[in-house]
């Protein structure tokens, strides 16, 4: 929604995208777009256009040692600091062993991991145990972050006056599969629920695909929420309402670049 702040700042957005603001104005714009999705989207559009002007720069190859230097600095970060949290988990959860980590708080997880480390300390070096604890703790935190983000998206979609719901039908794998997809044209967000899916082992997962004009992208993975229900918030580079179809296939854990098995459930958006 356009506010008085927006009206005052809208003139600064083109200058911000072109790097032409005066000292101090950049910060004013950044503070505003951090809390105003409309102006953030407008600025992103100006940035997208102004980035085209880089095409006018004559090509220069960066020196080969620059890439090595950047990777070296990145590698040094890994040695200095624990892994950071992912903006989006690439791997779906581990179906059997790690699932319970989602159920506990980070504090409890940390305590339990500490106890576990004592128990298995004989078999492994302390460093290995610490590394694994850190990794599992990060997995836990990732799941918590993911769930919190999911709830926010679900609330946004459900609160929308334009929300659309489509039923999804079974594919070629099992006749029992069905689902629903909820989308909100105003935010471009959406979520998917599926039931009646076949069982998968720890080496496999359900990967979601969105199709637009015959181009298919991965939109994330389904997560079990109990009673045979699977669910995910759709992840896509464009508003999900730009896509025409959605489908789910069984893929090796970690996902595939494209579907490798027949569709389990799917339909139009």
């Amino acid at each position: 929604m356009m506010t008085r702040d927006c009206e005052q700042l809208v003139d600064l957005l083109p200058g911000r995208a072109l790097g032409a603001l005066e000292a101090g104005e950049d910060e004013v714009v950044e503070r505003h777009v951090d809390r105003c999705p409309d102006c953030a989207s407008e600025l992103a559009e100006y940035l997208r256009v102004s980035a085209q002007l880089a095409a006018l720069a004559p090509a220069h190859d960066p020196p080969p040692e620059l890439g090595a230097r950047i990777l070296e600095a990145a590698r040094a970060d890994l040695e200095d600091a624990p892994p950071r949290l992912a903006a989006l988990p690439r791997r779906p959860m581990r179906w059997s062993l790690a699932g319970w980590w989602r159920q506990v708080s980070p504090q409890v997880a940390a305590f339990s991991l500490g106890a576990a480390a004592l128990a298995i300390g004989w078999g492994y070096s302390t460093q290995q145990s610490l590394d694994r604890m850190q990794s599992q703790l990060n997995d836990t935190q990732q799941q918590i972050d993911r769930i919190r983000d999911s709830y926010q998206t679900v609330a946004l979609v459900l609160a929308s006056g334009d929300m659309r719901v489509q039923n999804l039908g079974p594919g070629e794998v099992t006749a029992t599969a069905w689902g629903k997809v909820w989308t909100d044209p105003s935010t471009g967000k959406g979520m998917l629920m599926a039931k009646g899916l076949p069982a998968v082992d720890a080496g496999h997962c359900f990967q979601v695909w969105l199709t637009r004009d015959d181009q298919r992208i991965s939109a994330g993975f389904l997560y079990p929420v109990g009673n045979g229900v699977y669910y995910t918030v759709l992840q896509a580079p464009r508003p999900v309402t730009d896509y025409q179809r959605v489908g789910v296939t069984i893929e090796p854990t970690g996902g595939s670049p494209g579907p490798t098995t027949p569709r389990v459930v799917g339909g139009t958006i």
Binding site: P58, L66, L78, R84, R90
Partner: protein, 206 residues
């Protein structure tokens, strides 16, 4: 390959990382995947470096900008928000912003002012086209789109983006009111935004 040995943080053994979208690779950076960083660098470093070199006109400063840009992506991948557009425009935005900072600091330090005689305006379709960073077709598309703008709007864009001048500096340089320069920039970007061939270009370039 810059990463010669498998990394503990890498999960790509036997998989073709080259087919993954930029946005997927950025998500992998959050899991400290060096190979994802290497792949993103391989895809975009040349464009980012060329833009920085164009602004700063010297290799060392341009390298520093590229390094800061990619390490920012590595250390704060969450700063890139996929729902606000593709990665390359975001990377170019970060690098351009940094390059402008460096340029203005250099100007202050050297007490250097942009000389009217040296501010040669770049226009797409010029002699450099053979070596344009995104190749001939893209550079020509941008050049054609710019040529269709009124001269006053095109000059304002180029002085800002490629010369690093602020709106006030451009106003003084061209002897026009500041409000006029702001309006020209906004109109120019809005016209470029509506150019169909540039819309396609963004999809290809991202």
């Amino acid at each position: 390959m810059l990463v010669n040995q498998p990394d503990a943080g890498s999960q790509w053994a036997g998989e073709d990382i080259g087919v993954l979208a930029d946005e997927t690779l950025v998500a992998c950076l959050g899991q400290r995947d060096l190979q994802a960083l290497e792949e993103l660098y391989r895809r975009h470093a040349r464009v980012v470096y060329s833009m920085a070199f164009k602004l700063l006109t010297e290799a060392t400063a341009a390298e520093e900008v590229v390094q800061e840009c990619f390490l920012k992506l590595w250390r704060q991948p969450e700063r890139y928000q996929r729902d606000r557009g593709k990665l390359l425009p975001w990377l170019l935005g970060v690098a351009h912003h940094r390059a402008i900072d460096v340029l203005r600091r250099q100007r202050l330090e050297r007490r250097h002012h942009v000389d009217r005689d040296t501010a040669v305006l770049d226009v797409g379709g010029g002699a450099d086209l053979d070596t344009q960073v995104w190749g001939n077709m893209q550079a020509e598309a941008v050049g054609r789109a710019l040529q269709r703008l009124p001269d006053s709007q095109r000059v304002a864009l180029e002085l800002a983006y490629l010369r690093g001048m602020t709106q006030s500096e451009i106003a003084v340089f061209l002897g026009e009111p500041l409000g006029t320069i702001k309006t020209r920039m906004r109109l120019a970007l809005q016209k470029l935004r509506a150019t169909p061939e540039l819309v396609a270009l963004v999809a290809d370039a991202g």
